[in-house]
């Protein structure tokens, strides 16, 4: 018998199955189509702002997304390099053929993990505990825990104009009954919507009139364990395209034909990826909208037209695309569509992603109301870890808001719920100065080691890095930069004010105009790039970082105040009635989480804290 069954082979499913197997659980991954393992049905990229940090967090925890992306892209870029360290992020243009292939290879090489094709339509549930899955052909497969990572496949409809077709992404089969069966068991189902733009034939695009966007000259990797394995001079480019008045007119004239505006759709779409008709209607004074053309693969000729997603009928889409400068003669290989699907209300899951109603049932990814490959992967790894821990009878693994973007993501979902597909943004993370992509390993690898999800070799590399950081800091404190004729010249050549006296190297580094690159011209710094980066950031931004840690420390005490699961809010007489209702609905795990629920006021938190003290002496 299997310990854990993972249903769905998308980005959440891959991470969940891999990590659970790594933790010694006999795991079965069931997918409808093995060719669609780690499929990228929408944009051809991994990472980006905030999302790129999640990729590194997954990597730090022993997951796959980062290392697979590192060997599957044809362009990689550091975003926000001119801004502060907290918001810098990597984004890779991943090859849609290579990425799934490399992911499948990783899964096939994972011990304890089997993959099977099949369509899950029901669960075996006894006394509110899940015991396995039932396939559409009636086959029953037993397990001790089930992780649902069914993405946008549950009761999905594809919308193009007034046409609605029951179908998963790009014409794949969908699950017809699973969400209804979940509903029967008391799970609250919500309906969401997302969309994807057109794919354009490469040979029909006039690249000569478009603005080119290149990858970075410097090589990067997501993974803390890999060295760059690509040639930065041989990256592929993306291109910028703009809409114009003509495009807008076509859209306005045909608005009633759009699935969304014609009233053919019922799902709620995300505000951060509005369809182009949404953009034209809501921002009518904008003269143009920026679009991006991104290559999908080295193995076929589709270019992804980012920013142009729509649910207009095909003939209107033709006119719209042809109105764009550079795409006058474009051939559309795939039309844009909107997709509606069933998801579960995330207020019904715990921060471990276990369901509150059905024990040992976990959910991760778009079924929890999120959007994005990276958000899915982050949830997948947490669900996999917690399912394994639960079966091992161990304490759950919950990342706090000041520990990881993944922690922010799950806390937001289970505390606030969502009415649109949730996308991670840096602005959602109040501790983003601590949650940087450069220190994801420092934040999480110790946990991964305890969980047994990284190898001893990986851990040793991490420990060495940590030691080097301490050493380098000491070294820079003890090393003086002499001001003499030779160094004066270096300052002058770089247009940097010459210090009046000899200075400690570390103090010099604190000055805003001086970076480690300049410093290394004055003194020898025999450490790796990553180690120097850590010391530089922690020195330069010490004041800001210290403040963030102080704020996080304040929160810690509240995070440690656990609310017993069996608490009866009706017994707390002094709670305001709105607070009582919200608390009953969310059933927060800690006082800190309770304080983040909208409608729960500080006075309610006081009352709750006093009640806990009195009743449970917590």
């Amino acid at each position: 018998m299997y310990k854990i069954i993972v249903v769905g082979g998308g980005h959440a499913g891959c991470e969940a199955a891999h990590i659970a197997a790594k933790m010694g659980m006999k795991t079965l991954l069931i997918t409808m189509n093995i060719k669609n393992i780690a499929d990228m049905p929408c944009n051809p990229s991994i990472g980006g702002t905030a999302k790129g940090v999640i990729v590194r967090e997954v990597d730090a925890l022993g997951g796959l997304m980062g290392r697979v992306a590192d060997i599957s892209h044809f362009q990689i870029k550091m975003l926000n390099s001119s801004k502060g360290p907290a918001v810098r992020c990597l984004r890779a243009q991943a090859d849609k053929v290579t990425y799934p292939k490399n992911m499948l290879k990783e899964l096939n090489n994972t011990e304890n993990l089997e993959i099977k094709e099949g369509k899950v339509e029901d669960l075996i549930i006894e006394n509110k505990v899940v015991k396995g899955v039932i396939l559409d052909n009636g086959e029953k497969i037993e397990s001790e825990a089930v992780i649902l990572t069914t993405g946008t496949y549950t009761k999905a409809n594809i919308l193009v104009g007034s046409k609605s077709t029951p179908s998963g992404p790009h014409g794949e089969d969908r699950s017809n009954y699973l969400s209804d069966n979940l509903k029967k068991n008391g799970i609250d189902i919500i309906r969401l919507k997302t969309g994807t733009p057109q794919r354009i034939e490469a040979s029909s695009i006039d690249f000569s009139v478009l603005q080119e966007e290149k990858g970075d000259d410097e090589a990067h990797t997501f993974s803390f364990d890999l060295k760059p394995s690509y040639d930065p001079t041989k990256q592929r480019s993306c291109y910028l395209v703009y809409t114009n008045e003509n495009t807008h007119n076509i859209i306005r004239e045909n608005l009633s034909k759009s699935a969304m505006y014609g009233g053919y759709a019922t799902g709620v779409g995300p505000r951060y990826c509005p369809s182009i008709e949404d953009k034209i209607v809501r921002f009518s004074d904008k003269e143009r909208h920026q679009l991006f053309l991104e290559p999908e693969s080295d193995y076929y000729n589709d270019w992804y037209l980012q920013g142009f997603s729509t649910s207009m009928p095909e003939d209107v889409q033709e006119k719209m695309v042809h109105s764009l400068h550079g795409l006058e003669n474009a051939i559309i290989n795939k039309y844009a569509y909107a997709i509606e699907y069933d998801a579960i209300n995330p207020l019904q899951i715990k921060p471990t992603e276990e369901n509150k109603i059905i024990e040992n049932l976990f959910t991760a990814g778009q079924i929890n109301g999120t959007s994005g490959y990276e958000e899915a992967a982050g949830q997948g790894i947490i669900a996999g870890i917690n399912a394994a821990l639960k079966l091992q009878g161990k304490e759950p693994f919950i990342l706090k808001r000041n520990e990881a973007y993944i922690g922010v993501l799950l806390d937001d979902l289970v505390t606030k719920g969502t009415i649109e597909p949730y996308r991670m943004l840096t602005s959602r993370a109040e501790f983003r100065l601590i949650l940087r992509h450069d220190n994801a390993d420092l934040r999480l690898r110790e946990y991964a080691h305890e969980l047994g999800t990284i190898s001893e070799e990986q851990y040793a590399r991490f420990t060495k890095k940590k030691e080097d950081i301490v050493e380098l800091k000491e070294y820079l404190t003890n090393t003086k930069v002499e001001i003499n004729d030779e160094t004066r010249k270096i300052f002058e050549e770089n247009n940097i004010e010459i210090p009046t006296t000899n200075m400690k190297a570390l103090d010099l580094l604190k000055r805003p105009e001086i970076n480690s690159k300049f410093l290394s011209k004055l003194i020898d710094i025999p450490y790796s790039k990553e180690v120097i980066e850590q010391v530089e950031i922690s020195t330069k931004y010490a004041g800001y970082i210290e403040k963030s840690y102080q704020q996080a420390e304040k929160l810690k005490k509240l995070e440690e105040k656990i609310i017993p699961e069996d608490i009866d809010y009706k017994k707390i007489i002094n709670l305001a009635s709105e607070a009582r209702q919200k608390l009953e609905k969310v059933r927060p795990r800690t006082i800190a989480q309770a304080s983040r629920i909208s409608g729960v006021n500080p006075s309610d938190i006081s009352v709750l804290a006093v009640y806990l003290k009195k009743e449970y002496n917590k």
Partner: protein, 446 residues
Amino acid sequence: MEDTIASISTSIGIGAISIVRISGNEAIRIVNEICSIDLTNIESHTINYAHIMDKDEIIDEVLIMVMKSPKTYTKEDVIEINTHGGINTTNKVLELLLEHGARMAEPGEFTKRAFLNGRIDLTQSEAVSDLINAKTDASRRLAINQVNGKINEKINNLRDKMAKLISNIEVNIDYPEYQDELQITVELLNKELREIKKELDKIIEDSKNGRIISNGINVAIIGKPNVGKSSLLNALLDENKAIVTNIAGTTRDLVEGSITLNGVAINFIDTAGIRETSDVVEKIGVDKSLEAKNNADLVILVINNNEELDEEDKKLLASADENTIIFVNKSDLDSKVELNLSNYVKGNTLSLDGIRPLKEAIISKFSLDKIMNKDMTYVSNLRQIDLIKKAIMAINSAIEDVDNNVEIDLIEINIKNAWELLGEVTGKVYTDEIVDTIFSNFCLGK
């Protein structure tokens, strides 16, 4: 680690001594920064004589009681400061604590901490719970009443302005490749932040007027014996017989009588029993007069026109500051004083015309004529003033960051902090506000 909290723990205006209490692990650090003695190694449970200082200026002569954790009411470090000045001095001490990092305690918060830290036993808990509930409800109502509609609107407008700025910065961060969106630059921030700061400063300035309107102006009349202090007071009060009362309340000092000027109460405080006509009073010397200044918003220093200045006069004149009006009395008699001052008022107590110049001087000193013409948008609650002042401090840090070429996402931290503090003033705390603003104002995404 909890905030360090402070408040005045005696009833305001009652009793000769007020106690300002502060609790939390920053308590000793904060008090140390504003007092004349070094508390860092002080023994626990000791009473120490010291001055409370605002930089170099002595604010009050106090007794500081230091009680270190855990043997204290809240089980945290607690310091109690016994102040001797009146309400203004005590408020000033509290304001200094807040400026140096303490937070104004919520009603019942010391007791709440005492309970949560296990200081009060369980039998008392029900009462505590009721207390917190009752007090927080009351304070919630209070907060709503005290922030009147106009100030609320003003602060909300400022917050909206800041939210737009913040969300624009967020868009620049989260969508770095959208070149058509407005890129927030240092120049733009500089301009916007300075405007915001100006408006916040104005709210604080108005709040001073606000307090004047609600509490009135406390005036002490000082001068050496026989210059006519009591006749001056009588002349001022007699004109407004109806309002001559003994009001105990707003200060620990007895208010001898009040008049209104342009609708604002002018309270003459009984600093040395000047109303009594007996010789005893006139014996009270210069030192006592100087001490009286502590309790007053305004000091009227009386000089006799008909007498040459002596040492005592000179000493008093030397103490005159921006809150002093020098009144040269007995202008009906021959002038024997020589004043090298440009700033004094001449008059006498014989007629209405004689004291009119003095009244006009008071009106112009506090711009009373202008106050009443303004709309009454002011904040009078100390907690709110504290929050707004902290918001100003955050904006100042942001401006400093801009000047130092700090990266935009770091500058934003301070702007956001100020925005959150202002949210607490109006009671508006809604975590997804920025995300909502991003998507209602910017057009992005696939």
